[in-house]
């Protein structure tokens, strides 16, 4: 499915877009509306057929692009994303929940015991709950917008790529390099844990710039060297167990993390 390009079609038409929310905080959908100054410019290029957050129009049968927010946590959601894949030429995931299972993914560990920790009798309205997983664990995904929540302009950028194509490579480097470039001091020197060491770059080190260590919301970088990162923790007096525990926040279901232990 990837490589589908609306711009290549013979008769260019306004792409029809649907926006669907699964298990999430809705923050990434809100971030789209937070592109206030650009909102109508962005929406002017597309035909939003279905966006439950902003409109009471029903979901159409036909559309070109599906934008999916949230993790898959029920059998019903699994069926929904499969249907979206069948109907849409392009699938875009937005945010950590859809892309890496994000914070909801934390519940994947020991999932079967968890509902009983919240409910005495799990209400029917919860549906058929399954261990949380990212959208790409269920279907092929063409484009992804990372970060928790997504950056509005990042979304606009990825949408443009999906609509018009781009050969710009998606960065895979770790965030540590961004701090060196920004000339910000390192938390490890203060014996504080920071996940920038192994997290995929692209946010400009937003949290670190504001005095807060990285919590890894962009997910593990494919270039991450976990054994070396653990050594670095030891060298700086940061417990390795804390490092591994912190990584669970956005990478609980990442297969790379499961096999490295």
């Amino acid at each position: 499915m990837s490589g589908y390009c609306i711009a290549c079609q013979e008769k260019p038409a306004t792409p029809r877009v649907v926006v669907v929310g699964l298990a999430s905080c809705f923050g990434c959908q809100l971030q789209i509306t937070n592109a206030e100054a650009h909102l109508l410019d962005v929406l002017g290029q597309i035909d939003v057929r279905y966006w439950q957050l902003t409109s009471s129009d029903p979901m159409p049968e036909e559309f070109d692009v599906a934008v999916i927010e949230g993790a898959v946590t029920t059998e019903e959601a699994e069926a929904t994303v499969r249907q979206l894949r069948e109907r849409a030429g392009v699938v875009i995931t937005i945010g950590a929940c859809a892309t890496t299972a994000g914070i909801p993914g934390m519940a994947a560990a020991g999932f079967l015991e968890r509902p009983a920790q919240v409910y005495a009798h799990v209400p029917e309205a919860c549906g058929e709950m399954i261990a949380p997983r990212p959208v790409q664990a269920v279907i092929d995904v063409d484009f992804e917008v990372r970060t928790c929540p997504v950056d509005s302009l990042d979304f606009v950028d990825v949408l443009q790529r999906a609509l018009y194509g781009s050969n710009k490579a998606v960065p895979t480097r770790t965030m540590c390099g961004d701090c060196k470039r920004n000339e910000t001091s390192c938390f490890f020197g203060k014996q504080q844990l920071c996940l920038g060491l192994v997290t995929r770059a692209g946010c400009g080190a937003r949290c670190v710039n504001l005095g807060r260590p990285c919590n890894g919301c962009r997910g593990l970088s494919p270039d991450a060297n976990l054994p070396s990162a653990r050594e670095a923790c030891e060298r700086y007096g940061v417990p390795v167990a804390d490092f591994d525990k912190a990584l669970e926040m956005f990478n609980q279901v990442n297969p790379a993390l499961q096999t490295s232990e």
Binding site: L30, E36, D57, A107, P115, R212
Partner: protein, 430 residues
Amino acid sequence: MTKTAIHVDHVARIEGHGNVHVVIEDGIVKTVEMNVVEPARLFESMVRGRSWREVSYISSRICGICSASHVVTDLKAIERAFGVQVTPRTRALRELLVYGSYLQNHATHLFVLAAPDFVGQKSVFPLAETDPELFDKALGLKALGNELCTKVGGRSIHPITAVVGGFTHELEAGEYRALAEKMDEAAAFAAAAVDLFASFPVPSITTAGDMLAMVEPDYYPVECSDTARFLDAGIEFDANDVAAHLEEYEMPHSAALLARVRETGSPFFTGALARINASWQHLGQNAKVAAAKAGLRPPERNPFMNNVAQAVELVDALDRCAGICRALAEPGGVEGSSEPVDFEVKAGRGVGFTEAPRGALFHALEFDDEGRVVHASIMTPTAQNVANLEADMRLLAEQLVAEGAGEDDVRGEIEKLVRAYDPCLSCSVH
């Protein structure tokens, strides 16, 4: 026998997933259900075993629009558990953060989600063409809320800088002054928003339940107090005792836990309307004038007036935030530093309490001596409101049926009522 079944699958223009089921038989309203089907992410289970350092970062993700409230509430819970006293400056910054989410939330709810109901549209976008000035100013107000959250918290959603004991980053004096000026500039539009929402005709109903709000002597509190009050029952309690007064219960049709007053068994409303009823006398002068002009004075028990109450809070929030920003800009204008204070991690329990944009929010956290969460209980305003919303939906349906309203009218007015409650279903399930 005539039977009318009204099903609204996935109520639009609210945050999260919910369906409405109403069954009317021979003119009698039989079933009224707010079917909350938002996926359960199981936050209370998820934070167990996590460090105090991570817990506010994780629970922020309960909700995008109320993230600032979840963070501040969690920090208050942790600080109560560890016995941390923060400075007045830190409290002022937290109040700004909470108000930033009020501006975002109320502007979004009123103009993007609720207004289309009253101008006969399915979404806000046609408004951009028919009334571009209103559309621009409404988005401008929402943008100002985002800017306030971004400046103070580092990001409009999921704040970065607010941590246990203080803030990791603070603005320059000039930036506070610039924010205050923007607040002043937005004031006229907020006052006009009160008039606009007061001009929309709404059904006259009297809410079925009690009301719950934070209270504080001589102040309109959203963050600074630990005291809550059920207005009708006259029960006032410290947030640490919330479980003794607020009873959560399960229903099969709702993934959110419902709530009632433990002592009276009554459902209750929490949100802007409850706050205005509890603290009307502490509103700022401009907000009071706007409220009086709109006919909003306690006791106001029509849940549809929650829209007007939110608009009044916009007026109040702008004045209040402008004042706080100007004080923060003056050297020594607000006592203390916002740098995180020192504290000791220890075993303990604390309940954080804030007034989120949608109402009373409680996070109860218990820690072991290493500062890891042993038990967590999160009570969000929308979950608290579900039972009262259902009771009000029933009242409204009965009234409309008695007036001989048709199915489409009943459906339309019930959807409007749901939106007037400004439910955040993603919060309610969490």
